[in-house]
Chain length 167, copies 2
Protein backbone atom coordinates (compact mmCIF):
# COMPACT_ATOMS: atom_id res chain seq x y z
CA UNK A 1 0.00 0.00 0.00
CA UNK A 2 1.35 3.44 -0.74
CA UNK A 3 0.85 6.87 0.75
CA UNK A 4 0.97 10.03 -1.31
CA UNK A 5 2.00 13.41 0.02
CA UNK A 6 0.87 16.75 -1.41
CA UNK A 7 4.00 17.14 -3.50
CA UNK A 8 3.69 13.74 -5.17
CA UNK A 9 6.30 11.72 -3.36
CA UNK A 10 5.06 8.34 -2.19
CA UNK A 11 6.35 6.40 0.75
CA UNK A 12 6.77 2.67 0.62
CA UNK A 13 6.36 1.14 4.07
CA UNK A 14 7.60 -2.41 3.94
CA UNK A 15 8.73 -5.17 6.27
CA UNK A 16 10.78 -8.08 4.98
CA UNK A 17 11.26 -11.59 6.36
CA UNK A 18 13.02 -14.84 5.64
CA UNK A 19 10.72 -17.78 4.85
CA UNK A 20 10.96 -20.72 7.21
CA UNK A 21 9.51 -23.56 5.12
CA UNK A 22 7.45 -24.47 2.02
CA UNK A 23 4.01 -24.50 3.64
CA UNK A 24 3.05 -21.27 1.78
CA UNK A 25 3.30 -23.03 -1.60
CA UNK A 26 0.39 -24.06 -3.81
CA UNK A 27 -1.88 -21.07 -3.19
CA UNK A 28 -0.76 -18.86 -6.12
CA UNK A 29 0.91 -19.81 -9.40
CA UNK A 30 3.14 -16.72 -9.29
CA UNK A 31 4.44 -14.34 -11.93
CA UNK A 32 7.97 -14.18 -13.20
CA UNK A 33 9.84 -10.87 -12.73
CA UNK A 34 13.09 -9.71 -14.21
CA UNK A 35 14.70 -6.60 -12.82
CA UNK A 36 17.95 -4.71 -13.09
CA UNK A 37 19.41 -1.47 -11.78
CA UNK A 38 20.60 1.78 -13.32
CA UNK A 39 21.73 2.90 -9.85
CA UNK A 40 22.29 0.78 -6.75
CA UNK A 41 23.09 3.78 -4.55
CA UNK A 42 20.74 3.22 -1.56
CA UNK A 43 19.93 6.95 -1.49
CA UNK A 44 18.79 6.99 -5.14
CA UNK A 45 18.13 3.47 -6.40
CA UNK A 46 16.80 3.25 -9.98
CA UNK A 47 15.19 -0.06 -10.89
CA UNK A 48 13.89 -1.36 -14.24
CA UNK A 49 11.37 -4.17 -13.90
CA UNK A 50 9.72 -6.36 -16.50
CA UNK A 51 6.62 -8.35 -15.51
CA UNK A 52 5.16 -10.18 -18.50
CA UNK A 53 4.08 -7.46 -20.93
CA UNK A 54 4.43 -4.62 -18.43
CA UNK A 55 7.46 -2.46 -17.72
CA UNK A 56 8.17 -0.29 -14.69
CA UNK A 57 10.73 2.29 -13.74
CA UNK A 58 11.03 2.76 -9.99
CA UNK A 59 13.12 5.25 -8.05
CA UNK A 60 13.66 4.85 -4.33
CA UNK A 61 15.36 7.15 -1.85
CA UNK A 62 17.06 6.36 1.44
CA UNK A 63 15.21 4.07 3.86
CA UNK A 64 14.43 5.27 7.36
CA UNK A 65 13.60 1.97 9.09
CA UNK A 66 10.72 0.41 7.15
CA UNK A 67 9.79 3.67 5.36
CA UNK A 68 11.24 4.54 1.96
CA UNK A 69 10.34 7.29 -0.54
CA UNK A 70 9.38 5.84 -3.90
CA UNK A 71 8.44 7.07 -7.37
CA UNK A 72 7.08 4.55 -9.86
CA UNK A 73 6.26 4.94 -13.56
CA UNK A 74 4.76 2.48 -16.04
CA UNK A 75 6.85 2.32 -19.21
CA UNK A 76 6.49 0.27 -22.42
CA UNK A 77 7.64 -3.33 -21.86
CA UNK A 78 9.88 -3.15 -24.95
CA UNK A 79 11.73 -0.19 -23.45
CA UNK A 80 12.14 -1.94 -20.10
CA UNK A 81 13.48 -5.01 -21.95
CA UNK A 82 15.86 -2.83 -23.93
CA UNK A 83 17.21 -1.12 -20.79
CA UNK A 84 17.63 -4.50 -19.07
CA UNK A 85 19.48 -5.83 -22.10
CA UNK A 86 21.71 -2.85 -22.86
CA UNK A 87 21.97 -0.47 -19.91
CA UNK A 88 21.33 -2.12 -16.55
CA UNK A 89 24.06 -3.41 -14.26
CA UNK A 90 24.66 -7.15 -14.17
CA UNK A 91 23.96 -9.69 -12.85
CA UNK A 92 20.23 -9.03 -12.75
CA UNK A 93 17.50 -10.36 -10.50
CA UNK A 94 15.07 -13.01 -11.67
CA UNK A 95 12.40 -14.26 -9.36
CA UNK A 96 8.88 -15.65 -9.15
CA UNK A 97 6.54 -13.53 -7.07
CA UNK A 98 3.64 -15.20 -5.30
CA UNK A 99 0.85 -13.22 -3.62
CA UNK A 100 -0.54 -14.90 -0.55
CA UNK A 101 -3.22 -13.56 1.75
CA UNK A 102 -2.97 -14.15 5.47
CA UNK A 103 -5.08 -12.62 8.24
CA UNK A 104 -6.34 -9.86 5.93
CA UNK A 105 -2.92 -8.80 4.63
CA UNK A 106 -1.39 -9.56 1.24
CA UNK A 107 2.11 -11.06 1.43
CA UNK A 108 4.49 -11.12 -1.49
CA UNK A 109 6.75 -14.17 -1.45
CA UNK A 110 9.74 -13.89 -3.79
CA UNK A 111 11.42 -17.12 -4.88
CA UNK A 112 14.72 -16.07 -6.41
CA UNK A 113 16.16 -17.78 -9.48
CA UNK A 114 19.53 -17.88 -11.19
CA UNK A 115 22.43 -16.59 -9.12
CA UNK A 116 20.12 -16.03 -6.15
CA UNK A 117 18.46 -19.48 -6.28
CA UNK A 118 17.79 -20.89 -2.82
CA UNK A 119 16.68 -17.57 -1.38
CA UNK A 120 13.00 -17.00 -0.57
CA UNK A 121 11.88 -13.70 0.97
CA UNK A 122 8.46 -12.50 2.10
CA UNK A 123 7.44 -8.84 2.12
CA UNK A 124 4.45 -7.04 3.48
CA UNK A 125 3.54 -3.48 2.51
CA UNK A 126 1.83 -1.49 5.22
CA UNK A 127 -0.15 1.74 5.50
CA UNK A 128 1.69 2.70 8.67
CA UNK A 129 4.99 1.43 10.13
CA UNK A 130 3.28 0.74 13.49
CA UNK A 131 0.46 -1.30 11.94
CA UNK A 132 0.15 -4.63 13.78
CA UNK A 133 0.97 -7.65 11.58
CA UNK A 134 -0.12 -11.23 12.22
CA UNK A 135 2.78 -13.33 10.96
CA UNK A 136 1.92 -16.47 8.99
CA UNK A 137 3.41 -19.69 10.43
CA UNK A 138 5.90 -19.99 7.52
CA UNK A 139 7.50 -16.61 8.30
CA UNK A 140 11.02 -16.67 9.75
CA UNK A 141 13.45 -13.98 10.91
CA UNK A 142 12.71 -10.33 10.08
CA UNK A 143 15.38 -8.80 7.80
CA UNK A 144 13.84 -5.34 7.14
CA UNK A 145 16.99 -3.56 8.34
CA UNK A 146 19.50 -6.01 6.82
CA UNK A 147 20.78 -4.35 3.65
CA UNK A 148 22.07 -7.69 2.28
CA UNK A 149 18.49 -8.70 1.49
CA UNK A 150 17.74 -5.63 -0.63
CA UNK A 151 17.35 -6.56 -4.28
CA UNK A 152 19.92 -3.91 -5.27
CA UNK A 153 22.49 -5.59 -2.99
CA UNK A 154 21.51 -9.09 -4.15
CA UNK A 155 22.02 -8.04 -7.77
CA UNK A 156 25.69 -7.36 -7.02
CA UNK A 157 26.27 -9.98 -4.31
CA UNK A 158 24.19 -12.98 -5.37
CA UNK A 159 22.98 -15.30 -2.61
CA UNK A 160 24.79 -18.32 -4.13
CA UNK A 161 28.14 -16.69 -3.39
CA UNK A 162 27.40 -15.60 0.18
CA UNK A 163 29.29 -18.53 1.65
CA UNK A 164 32.43 -17.70 -0.33
CA UNK A 165 32.07 -13.95 0.13
CA UNK A 166 30.53 -13.29 3.57
CA UNK A 167 29.14 -9.77 4.02
CA UNK B 1 15.57 14.93 -33.57
CA UNK B 2 15.28 11.36 -32.41
CA UNK B 3 15.27 8.01 -34.12
CA UNK B 4 13.25 5.11 -32.83
CA UNK B 5 14.19 1.48 -33.33
CA UNK B 6 11.74 -1.39 -33.40
CA UNK B 7 12.31 -2.28 -29.78
CA UNK B 8 11.66 1.23 -28.51
CA UNK B 9 15.14 2.48 -27.79
CA UNK B 10 15.82 5.94 -29.20
CA UNK B 11 19.18 7.29 -30.21
CA UNK B 12 20.17 10.84 -29.50
CA UNK B 13 22.61 12.11 -32.12
CA UNK B 14 24.13 15.30 -30.86
CA UNK B 15 27.12 17.54 -31.51
CA UNK B 16 28.27 20.04 -28.90
CA UNK B 17 30.31 23.22 -29.26
CA UNK B 18 31.71 26.06 -27.23
CA UNK B 19 30.22 29.48 -27.99
CA UNK B 20 32.65 32.10 -29.26
CA UNK B 21 30.80 35.37 -28.51
CA UNK B 22 27.43 36.94 -27.63
CA UNK B 23 26.20 37.58 -31.16
CA UNK B 24 23.56 34.81 -30.79
CA UNK B 25 21.76 36.74 -28.03
CA UNK B 26 18.44 38.60 -28.39
CA UNK B 27 16.67 36.12 -30.63
CA UNK B 28 14.93 33.97 -27.98
CA UNK B 29 14.03 34.83 -24.40
CA UNK B 30 14.97 31.34 -23.22
CA UNK B 31 13.50 28.95 -20.66
CA UNK B 32 15.02 28.14 -17.30
CA UNK B 33 15.94 24.48 -16.65
CA UNK B 34 16.90 22.79 -13.43
CA UNK B 35 18.29 19.29 -13.58
CA UNK B 36 19.92 16.77 -11.31
CA UNK B 37 21.16 13.21 -11.50
CA UNK B 38 20.22 9.92 -9.88
CA UNK B 39 23.16 8.28 -11.67
CA UNK B 40 26.15 9.97 -13.31
CA UNK B 41 27.58 6.68 -14.59
CA UNK B 42 28.16 7.47 -18.31
CA UNK B 43 26.85 4.00 -19.24
CA UNK B 44 23.55 4.54 -17.43
CA UNK B 45 22.97 8.21 -16.67
CA UNK B 46 19.61 9.01 -15.02
CA UNK B 47 18.58 12.66 -15.19
CA UNK B 48 15.63 14.48 -13.58
CA UNK B 49 14.73 17.74 -15.31
CA UNK B 50 12.27 20.46 -14.42
CA UNK B 51 11.26 22.96 -17.11
CA UNK B 52 8.59 25.33 -15.82
CA UNK B 53 5.57 23.14 -15.07
CA UNK B 54 6.92 20.07 -16.86
CA UNK B 55 9.04 17.26 -15.47
CA UNK B 56 11.17 14.73 -17.33
CA UNK B 57 13.03 11.58 -16.45
CA UNK B 58 15.74 10.74 -18.97
CA UNK B 59 17.99 7.69 -19.12
CA UNK B 60 21.03 7.64 -21.38
CA UNK B 61 23.42 4.81 -22.18
CA UNK B 62 27.05 4.95 -23.28
CA UNK B 63 27.94 7.36 -26.09
CA UNK B 64 29.56 6.07 -29.24
CA UNK B 65 30.87 9.30 -30.75
CA UNK B 66 27.89 11.59 -31.23
CA UNK B 67 25.32 8.77 -30.87
CA UNK B 68 23.79 7.92 -27.51
CA UNK B 69 20.85 5.66 -26.60
CA UNK B 70 18.17 7.56 -24.74
CA UNK B 71 14.84 6.87 -23.03
CA UNK B 72 12.72 9.82 -21.96
CA UNK B 73 9.52 9.96 -19.93
CA UNK B 74 7.29 12.89 -18.98
CA UNK B 75 6.56 12.88 -15.25
CA UNK B 76 4.53 15.21 -13.01
CA UNK B 77 6.47 18.42 -12.31
CA UNK B 78 5.84 18.05 -8.57
CA UNK B 79 7.52 14.64 -8.61
CA UNK B 80 10.50 15.97 -10.57
CA UNK B 81 10.79 18.82 -8.05
CA UNK B 82 10.59 16.36 -5.17
CA UNK B 83 13.32 14.13 -6.63
CA UNK B 84 15.53 17.17 -7.27
CA UNK B 85 14.99 18.35 -3.71
CA UNK B 86 15.34 15.03 -1.87
CA UNK B 87 17.07 12.40 -4.02
CA UNK B 88 19.33 13.84 -6.73
CA UNK B 89 23.06 14.33 -6.35
CA UNK B 90 24.34 17.83 -5.66
CA UNK B 91 25.30 20.33 -6.86
CA UNK B 92 22.67 20.47 -9.59
CA UNK B 93 22.63 22.15 -12.97
CA UNK B 94 20.71 25.36 -13.57
CA UNK B 95 20.74 26.96 -16.97
CA UNK B 96 18.77 29.04 -19.43
CA UNK B 97 18.15 27.30 -22.73
CA UNK B 98 17.75 29.40 -25.86
CA UNK B 99 16.57 27.92 -29.17
CA UNK B 100 18.10 29.59 -32.20
CA UNK B 101 17.55 28.64 -35.81
CA UNK B 102 20.43 28.85 -38.24
CA UNK B 103 20.53 27.56 -41.80
CA UNK B 104 17.50 25.34 -41.29
CA UNK B 105 18.72 23.69 -38.07
CA UNK B 106 17.59 24.42 -34.52
CA UNK B 107 20.46 25.09 -32.12
CA UNK B 108 20.09 24.90 -28.36
CA UNK B 109 22.33 27.38 -26.56
CA UNK B 110 22.71 26.68 -22.83
CA UNK B 111 23.80 29.54 -20.61
CA UNK B 112 24.80 27.96 -17.32
CA UNK B 113 24.02 29.58 -13.98
CA UNK B 114 25.16 29.11 -10.39
CA UNK B 115 28.32 27.05 -9.99
CA UNK B 116 28.67 26.74 -13.77
CA UNK B 117 28.18 30.47 -14.51
CA UNK B 118 30.43 31.67 -17.32
CA UNK B 119 29.94 28.54 -19.41
CA UNK B 120 27.85 28.71 -22.60
CA UNK B 121 27.44 25.59 -24.77
CA UNK B 122 25.62 25.08 -28.06
CA UNK B 123 24.14 21.74 -29.09
CA UNK B 124 22.64 20.51 -32.30
CA UNK B 125 20.59 17.31 -32.55
CA UNK B 126 20.84 15.51 -35.84
CA UNK B 127 19.00 12.77 -37.70
CA UNK B 128 22.26 11.16 -38.78
CA UNK B 129 25.80 11.57 -37.43
CA UNK B 130 27.12 12.30 -40.94
CA UNK B 131 24.53 15.00 -41.63
CA UNK B 132 26.29 18.18 -42.87
CA UNK B 133 25.99 21.12 -40.47
CA UNK B 134 26.44 24.79 -41.36
CA UNK B 135 28.01 26.32 -38.29
CA UNK B 136 26.74 29.75 -37.17
CA UNK B 137 29.46 32.43 -36.86
CA UNK B 138 29.22 32.46 -33.04
CA UNK B 139 30.12 28.75 -32.80
CA UNK B 140 33.57 27.91 -31.40
CA UNK B 141 35.47 24.68 -30.78
CA UNK B 142 33.61 21.35 -31.01
CA UNK B 143 33.54 19.47 -27.66
CA UNK B 144 31.28 16.52 -28.57
CA UNK B 145 33.90 14.02 -27.40
CA UNK B 146 35.12 15.99 -24.36
CA UNK B 147 33.44 14.36 -21.34
CA UNK B 148 34.08 17.47 -19.19
CA UNK B 149 31.29 19.27 -21.02
CA UNK B 150 28.64 16.63 -20.28
CA UNK B 151 26.04 17.95 -17.87
CA UNK B 152 26.55 14.92 -15.63
CA UNK B 153 30.26 15.79 -15.32
CA UNK B 154 29.54 19.51 -14.84
CA UNK B 155 27.14 18.69 -12.00
CA UNK B 156 30.06 17.19 -10.06
CA UNK B 157 32.90 19.38 -11.36
CA UNK B 158 31.36 22.84 -11.78
CA UNK B 159 32.94 25.11 -14.37
CA UNK B 160 33.79 27.79 -11.78
CA UNK B 161 36.25 25.42 -10.13
CA UNK B 162 37.99 24.20 -13.29
CA UNK B 163 40.94 26.53 -12.74
CA UNK B 164 41.52 25.21 -9.23
CA UNK B 165 40.80 21.59 -10.15
CA UNK B 166 42.00 20.98 -13.72
CA UNK B 167 40.58 17.87 -15.38
Amino acid sequence: MEKRTEEGMRYEIERKFLVRDDSWRGRDEGVRLRQGYLSVDPERTVRVRLVGDRGWLTIKGASVGSVRPEFEYAIPAAEAASMLEHLCLRPQIEKIRYRIEHAGLLWEVDEFLGENAGLVLAEIELADPRQPVTLPPWIGEEVTDDHRYSNAWLSRHPFRHWGADPN
